[in-house]
């Protein structure tokens, strides 16, 4: 019998919650796997971030071996924050089309399987955009943008002129009446001068008596009808870029309400799996084939629409419905592929538990500033309910497991509350390491991207979700800190100043420690890493605007967003979890160990650069 390895990723499942639920016998399928093999905490990466950890899963190396250190990176020449997972290459000439390049380096283990002639199906793994050329099938995951190039940008339609666009959204004002024409906003057409949005005309009719909204979409299907509080199926739109070129994308509508104003929402426009703007699957027509067999599906990396909830465009119930739609698509695809799997490697990542915990944690944390605020019902145990849903996903998986199948279920990191936000850039300013122009004071009014920073007097700056970079001579444009003693002095000052930094309001320390990159990383891509990494205590995280080169109004302030749970704290505090249907030979497994484990089980030697060790005893 050919051997099989099935790996199911449940992003962000917190072992503390899993332990409690196992003890109450609320996770029967995970309990079965534990009984047949092992259950353990799983050491995650520094930092404990999804793209970083899953890249280490794929390559078996620390982040220095694959070059993904954060969601956000910067170019030392301009210090502007950028998405770190992929890079758009400007065309080499007027003839060449734009290209996108995966920034994850290293060699994922499915390429070793490919070399050995063993097929793989890898679905929704972060940092696989554009996809790897493997034997088998791949569908890209976190890192795939929407059709505008954003991580997720929806559009809110309202008759209320008092509404203004919040984070990452577009607001379209509707005229008066109940029979209206408006537009769905598609890709930014930068080929035009000046750049303009490509749009599709739609017509909406609301009916007061039935309380239904009918939308003539101009796309496919041509007409949909929605009740209040309902999401639509996918609608495919065709956006004309010119007389000759067009691009298609897919979106869902959500009908919020008729009163006091007509309001509805259009999700971020996803790449059309049948004709994506950039490759999202390998082979390239795999995404199209599965959409023809199973129906349309979300292609966006961060598919669950957290922005709509954060911005108050729909409520928790609508968000949970949306999460469920995404989860069902993934479940359907997983079952389809497992049904036809004969041998080799299968991987599917379910992102939904991560996204759901980010938004719903405040209901289970009575000490959170947003605990139960604005909620019209009790969601206290909603996260636990979702864990049970995740456990139920494993039922059909277990049906495909026989004595020749290695089954692994893991989370890449755990979860915790996010009550207080720490602005590292303000701290650097207060400690004379970051200077502002014209005597300005830190605050959100200074904008993003270090607009007000005086680089000629700045030694260090914070960017990304915990990173600090020195303003190093010869590396940063106009850097002032010399390598050697001077850099050492700055590093020491930051490490000793931040470690144990107290939060005067709560009386708790906000930061456990600050790590140096040379102590965390090794490998060919260490030079991409921040010089220092802040390890926050659970409950604290880097402030929102610090991540993109901005400032908060206070050094430490309450997190008043619905995004209330997080995992970007000291990685020791948020390990992932690991279930395997085999005994483990190691008591302290790490996410770096999974690649050599899969390779060993399938009889393929691990590459020399892999740092992890197989968790299985030699057969």
């Amino acid at each position: 019998m050919p051997k099989k390895v099935i790996v199911i990723g449940l992003d962000g499942l917190e072992p503390g919650i899993v332990d409690a639920m196992l003890s109450r016998a609320e996770l029967p399928n995970l309990a079965k796997i534990r009984q047949s093999g092992a259950y353990s905490r799983l050491k995650t990466t520094y930092p404990a971030q999804t793209p970083v950890a899953w890249s280490s899963f794929a390559t078996g190396t620390n982040p220095g071996g694959h070059g993904i250190f954060d969601f956000i990176s910067r170019d030392p020449q301009n210090r502007l924050p950028d998405a770190a997972l992929s890079r758009f290459e400007r065309p080499k000439s007027m003839f060449a089309p734009p290209r996108v390049v995966n920034q994850r380096q290293g060699r994922p283990f499915w390429l070793s399987l490919t070399q050995a002639g063993i097929p793989s199906t890898v679905l929704r793994c972060p940092c696989t955009f554009p996809p790897d050329e493997l034997k088998g099938n791949m569908l890209s995951g976190v890192g795939v943008p929407d059709i505008r190039g954003s991580q997720s940008k929806g559009t809110f339609y309202t008759q209320d002129r008092a509404v203004h666009a919040e984070e990452s959204e577009q607001v379209v004002y509707l005229g008066a009446g109940l029979d209206l024409s408006t537009k769905v906003i598609g890709p930014r057409n930068t080929a035009k001068a000046p750049a303009a949005d490509a749009v599709c005309d739609i017509r909406v009719r609301a009916d007061k008596s039935s309380r239904k909204l009918t939308i003539e979409t101009g796309g496919s299907p041509a007409k949909i009808e929605l009740s209040e509080g309902q999401w639509s199926d996918w609608v495919r739109f065709k956006f004309k870029l010119s007389m000759l070129q067009s691009v298609t994308g897919i979106a869902r509508f959500y009908f919020r309400r008729l009163d006091p104003h007509l309001e509805f929402y259009v999700s971020a426009i996803n790449f059309d799996p049948g004709a994506p703007l950039f490759p999202i699957s390998a082979p390239p027509d795999y995404a199209k084939t599965i959409s023809e067999k199973l129906g349309m599906f979300s292609t966006l990396g961060m598919a669950e629409d957290h922005n709509g909830l954060n911005n108050g465009r729909f409520d928790e119930q609508a968000y949970l419905q949306h999460c469920d739609l995404v989860l069902r698509e993934r479940e359907q695809l997983m079952r389809f592929e497992l049904d036809r799997m004969k041998e080799g490697f299968f991987f599917m990542l379910f992102d939904t538990p991560d996204r759901l915990q980010h938004m719903m944690w405040r209901f289970r944390d009575v000490g959170h500033p947003m605990h139960n605020r604005d909620a019209d019902r009790d969601f206290t145990t909603r996260i636990e309910q979702h864990y049970q849903r995740c456990d139920a996903l494993l039922g059909p998986v277990l049906e495909h497991v026989d004595e020749n199948t290695l089954l692994i279920v893991l989370s890449d990191h755990g979860f915790n509350t996010f009550r207080r936000a720490f602005d590292t850039n303000t701290w650097l300013h207060q400690n004379g390491l970051l200077a502002l122009q014209d005597g300005k004071k830190p605050g959100v009014d200074l904008g993003e991207a270090f607009a007000a920073v005086d680089w000629s007097r700045t030694s260090a700056y914070a960017l990304g979700l915990g990173g600090i970079y020195l303003n190093l001579k010869g590396r940063e444009q106009g850097g002032i800190v010399g390598e050697g003693t001077e850099a050492e002095r700055v590093r020491n000052a930051i490490q000793s100043g931040l470690a144990g930094h107290p939060d005067a309001v709560t009386g708790r320390p906000a930061i456990r420690s600050v790590s140096r990159r040379e102590d965390l990383y090794s490998g060919a891509y260490v030079d991409r890493a921040p010089d220092l990494l802040v390890n926050f205590h659970p409950g604290f995280r880097v402030a929102w605007k610090t991540a993109v080169g901005g400032f908060a109004n206070d050094l430490i302030e309450d997190n008043t967003r619905k995004w209330s749970g997080d995992h970007i704290v000291d990685p020791e505090a948020v390990p992932g979890m690991l279930f395997v249907n085999r005994a483990l030979q190691c008591q302290d497994p790490s996410i770096l160990d999974l690649a050599p484990t899969v390779l060993q089980y399938l009889g393929v030697p691990a590459s020399g650069v892999m740092e992890g060790k197989s968790l299985l005893t030699a057969e």
Partner: protein
């Protein structure tokens, strides 16, 4: 400026200009000028391309006249012609030249070592497909190998499929495949290139008995070309004079065609309107959630 000519012999404007799936060619159409080429009598593939190069009608075709590829191959400049010039044995140029499909074997090219070994006998459709694959692969390798003043590759798969293998889906698939081949060549071109995608005459499938060839088509892109959009009334003989005009060469009196850009002010090539880098980066991070 150098010239690259991608010949899609047999392609029809009805197919190329109407099918949105041909994304590479449609992008080129958006960038430059395109139009139909009124077909003439069917005089065969090689005389048709010789007419294009020399800008002479087939009745007037004088093989002693200098074709555009010879004009550009003066001195140290070299020309590469793949798949078409005069018939076997290959046309003599300062550069390399492949004889027309389906000639193959060690004597079918100048210089000799560029030819592939003769493949094992297969069905005609397989031979067509294999020959075309080889041709485009060779074109890519050759184009990258050195700077060419004039580079021309002519694909004859549509002619062959239309004449001997009239299965519509095979032809439809072949068009899409051709678009991919055009796309793969675009990756290799630099901004100092004049690109012409050219079909001198189309092949209809099934071809009405006794009917003349269908119209051909052209798509022309050059950094200084003042024309954009659809152009009516271009002829095959206009192609060489237009290209010579755009790269700043004189048009020999032996050429019968006219430059489509004669007397027109050439565009000054300059940088595109620069995008707001910061706005672009902000857009890429929008919706991340963590920020």
């Amino acid at each position: 400026m150098k010239i690259c000519v991608l010949g899609l012999d047999g392609a029809t404007p009805d197919k190329i200009f109407q099918d949105e799936r041909m994304v590479n060619i449609r992008r080129l159409m958006d960038m430059g000028v395109y139009g139909r080429i009124k077909s003439g009598p069917d005089v065969g593939t090689i005389p048709t391309w010789m007419s294009m190069g020399a800008s002479q009608s087939h009745e007037m075709l004088d093989l002693n006249s200098r074709a555009i590829w010879s004009i550009l191959a003066d001195g140290n400049s070299r020309t590469a012609l793949l798949g078409l010039t005069a018939d076997f044995p290959p046309y003599q140029v300062n550069g390399v030249s492949f004889a027309s499909f389906p000639a193959s074997g060690p004597t079918a090219t100048i210089p000799v070592p560029l030819a592939d070994p003769d493949p094992a006998p297969r069905s005609l459709s397989e031979q067509i497909s294999s020959a075309s694959h080889t041709r485009w692969q060779t074109a890519r390798t050759l184009y990258s190998s050195q700077g060419w003043a004039y580079f021309q590759v002519v694909d004859l798969g549509l002619q062959a499929l239309g004449a001997d293998f009239s299965e519509p889906t095979a032809i439809s698939d072949y068009y899409l495949w051709l678009d991919e081949q055009v796309g793969s060549m675009l990756e290799l071109l630099d901004d100092e290139t004049l690109l012409l995608v050219l079909s001198p005459r189309g092949v209809e499938v099934p071809a009405p008995a006794g009917a003349p060839p269908a119209d051909g088509l052209f798509v022309l892109i050059a950094p200084n070309c003042p024309l954009t959009g659809e152009y009516s009334g271009a002829t095959l003989l206009d192609m060489a004079p237009t290209m010579l005009d755009l790269i700043g060469y004189g048009i020999p009196p032996s050429m019968q065609g006219k430059s489509l850009v004669a007397q027109m002010q050439k565009k000054q090539s300059g940088p595109d309107a620069s995008l707001d880098e910061e706005a672009l980066l902000r857009e890429r991070l929008a919706g991340l959630g963590y920020i």
